[in-house]
């Protein structure tokens, strides 16, 4: 009767198993979002309330004075902290959009940064281009946003329709190629439009005053929170829809999707456009927050960073991308502080040299997460619940060692 007794955990175990056994297919840690039928009735409500509470909590943060030494640079109402948190949330929004493409649809793109950059540079250039126009500045601001959005969609459609003609690594490389072209273009500074390697600075003539200056950082914080919530809702909506399910199925077995009469291309195209447009929206937020854009956000390295963030957070979980974005940004910031600290300076060279390189620590941490936490940070609760200490592959290794 052991079989019956194990039924409860079987579902989780098999779900987890599938995550590993499909490793050789398109995604490593495939989503393990299966919930039991009984639990699913109550959970949406709990999640909804929890989600709203979280958003409200984040929204009133600038009005509070919470200080987490070592994590935040100062109390939560200070501009420095709000800036950092806003930046983290925009990166989280970007990561979320990337997760939809990579985690859900299995589209491993190396060019996601292109769309983020398109949002940032697009809005920056639109604002500059509109600058002398005699319209009211609110209208110019909104008009620029709209123009950038349209630009993002068109760019996504163009790149998507070409890149999606191939799959797998080839897809990754075509997207990389486009992103590289974009990056080169931005660095070349055609007609002085992008500022080249010096970056683009925001022309604030037509930007609402409420979004300019350190004193208004909390408005920018709310803007970033808004972007994150918006991206989350869109991603949630798409993932829950039939299109989302087909995308997941396509990731698993594309031929089979065709054989049941669905054209996978449509769904992949849709996901690509939505994810890319969301990235562009996050990019616009970034331009406003930073009062400028640097060519760094168009590079392949930046896409790799997003990939790292998504995996760090947990590919299988939507909120993993958010957690990853926030943890990564905070770590990046704090490790820099650590690297410059007297404590590190006092260590012997063997320890000092590596520890004073923030990227070394981040890279190492990332490796450890991939090796020992296959579900990422968001997967930790699941691992504790299912009580599995080891990944099946590890035990397999152990078995033949």
């Amino acid at each position: 009767m052991t079989r019956q007794e194990t039924q409860g955990t079987e579902q989780q175990a098999t779900a987890a198993a599938s995550a590993s056994s499909t490793g050789s297919s398109s995604t490593g840690s495939a989503p393990t979002r299966k919930t039991g039928p009984a639990a699913s009735a109550r959970r949406p409500l709990v999640l909804l309330i929890g989600g709203i509470a979280l958003v409200v909590g984040l929204a009133i943060l600038p009005l509070l004075a919470i200080d987490i030494p070592g994590v935040l640079p100062g109390p939560t109402y200070t501009p420095g902290t709000l800036q950092l948190l806003a930046y983290a949330m925009l990166i989280a929004a970007l990561a979320l959009s990337y997760r939809m493409m990579f985690g859900l649809a299995g589209l491993l793109s190396f060019g996601h940064a292109l769309f983020f950059a398109a949002g940032a540079y697009g809005l920056g250039m639109a604002l500059e281009y509109f600058a002398p126009v005699e319209w009211p500045s609110e209208l110019i601001f909104l008009g620029s946003i709209l123009v950038t959005l349209v630009f993002g969609v068109v760019l996504a459609a163009t790149v998507g329709s070409l890149a999606l003609r191939v799959t797998g690594i080839s897809f990754a490389m075509v997207t990389l190629a486009f992103a590289q072209a974009g990056s080169v273009l931005i660095r070349r500074n055609p007609g002085g439009a992008t500022g080249g390697d010096e970056g683009l600075s925001l022309d604030i003539t037509n930007v609402p005053d409420a979004l300019v200056g350190v004193l208004n950082t909390r408005n920018l914080y709310w803007l970033a929170l808004g972007v994150l919530v918006f991206v989350y809702l869109v991603v949630l909506w798409v993932e829950r829809s039939r299109a989302g399910h087909v995308a997941e199925a396509t990731r698993e077995n594309e031929l089979r999707v065709r054989v049941i009469g669905i054209r996978p291309y449509q769904v992949k195209f849709l996901i690509f456009i939505v994810a890319s447009t969301l990235a562009a929206i996050a990019g616009m937020g970034y331009l406003l927050l930073q009062s400028g854009a640097s060519p760094r956000v168009a590079t392949a390295d930046f896409t790799l960073t997003i990939l790292v963030i998504v995996v760090l957070g947990g590919v299988g979980y939507r909120w993993g991308a958010i957690v990853g974005g926030i943890v990564y940004t905070l770590l990046d910031q704090r490790l820099t502080a650590l690297a410059g600290s007297d404590f590190i300076a006092g260590l012997p060279a063997v320890l000092r040299v590596p520890l004073s390189e923030p990227l070394f620590i981040l890279g190492t941490l990332f490796i450890l997460v991939v090796l020992f936490l296959p579900g990422g940070i968001a997967g930790i609760p699941q691992r504790i619940r299912s009580g599995r200490k080891r990944h099946p592959a590890e035990s397999e290794e152990a078995a033949d060692a």
Binding site: S20, G23, S24, S26, T27, G28, S29, L108, L162, R165, V166, T167, I169, S170, M173, V174, L176, A177, F178, Q180, A181, V184, A300, L304, L307, V308, V311, V353, P354, S356, E357, P358, L359, F360, I361, L362, G363, T364, F366, I367, V370, L371, P374, A393, E394, E396, E397, D400
Partner: protein
């Protein structure tokens, strides 16, 4: 005329360098399905240690260069094998995670090299002959290009022979497809994979030392510069096809030379070539039919 010849031969030299990096990349990808983002780091560490040893033995001489090359190959092989043994192996056939590990490793090691050797390039000396030129039909060709071309050709032939003539080649090709079944035929497949990594690492190591000759410096970013082109070449050539990578290396490099010279847009042209090749022939020039 002499300009065209110059462009072609220097293109070949650059292509040779691309190939030295791409060969290991292609080998590792083709046989193990691992897209190795740490390959640039194998190259860099080999270049650094090769240089450190070479200059202590005899700086700027053939003898010193030979020592550097040998040390570089050994370092590349050892580091790559260690990477496989300690990191890649644990992730049993989960290719995406394996690639991610190498991404992390690439990030971490570049930072580490910066910590050890600093952020500035370190300029290196080379044997006198290599800094001279040979005149062919009016074009003054830098001599080190010939060295690069010769080494790349040797590496190509060597690896192809290894894969075709040895039982290891067979095991490796089978292991890519179904590792547990190879084990079930009584073969210790893990050792073969370590060997693949070591060979790829050795090629990268040689590439690293030669790259430092070509560029005239070593720096923490030596590998990253070449890696992206190596990726492109690998993909254009057809993932896993060594001869494809060789052909693509030459085509891309020569194309790049001409485009850079005449339109100042070499990198654009390479990118467009990549997109075009993949859209017309998704498997690349010489890719195997799935």
């Amino acid at each position: 005329m002499s300009t065209v010849l110059l462009l072609v031969i220097t293109g070949l030299g650059l292509g040779a360098l691309y190939f030295l990096v791409a060969s290991g990349l292609s080998l590792i990808y083709g046989l193990m399905g691992v897209l190795n983002f740490a390959h640039g780091s194998f190259l860099t560490i080999a270049a650094f240690i090769g240089w450190e040893v070479g200059r202590r033995v005899s700086d700027g001489t053939w003898w010193g260069l030979l020592i550097s090359a040998l040390v570089g190959m050994i370092v590349g092989a050892v580091v790559a094998a260690a990477t496989e043994y300690f990191l890649i192996r644990r992730l049993y056939e989960r290719h995406i995670e394996q690639a991610l590990i190498t991404v992390g490793l690439g990030l971490a090691t570049v930072a580490l090299f910066e910590g050890i050797w600093g952020t500035d390039p370190i300029y290196t000396a080379k044997p006198e002959w290599l800094s001279q030129t040979t005149e062919i039909l009016g074009a003054k060709i830098p001599n080190d290009r010939f060295l690069l071309i010769a080494c790349a050709a040797l590496v190509l032939v060597g690896i192809v022979l290894f894969l075709q003539r040895t039982r290891y080649g067979l095991i490796i090709r089978a292991g890519v497809e179904n590792r547990s079944m190879v084990t079930a035929l009584g073969i210790d497949v893990r050792r073969s994979f370590t060997i693949v990594f070591a060979i790829g690492g050795a090629a990268a190591g040689l590439g690293g030392v030669l790259a430092s000759v070509y560029y005239g410096y070593v720096s923490a970013h030596l590998g990253s510069v070449l890696l992206i082109f190596a990726f492109i070449v690998t993909v254009i050539g057809g993932l896993g096809s060594l001869t494809g990578a060789a052909i693509a290396s030459v085509l891309v490099a020569v194309l790049q030379q001409f485009a850079n010279y005449y339109w100042g847009a070499g990198d654009f042209v390479v990118v467009i070539a990549l997109a075009a090749v993949l859209l017309i022939r998704p498997r690349g020039l010489m890719g195997k039919v799935a």
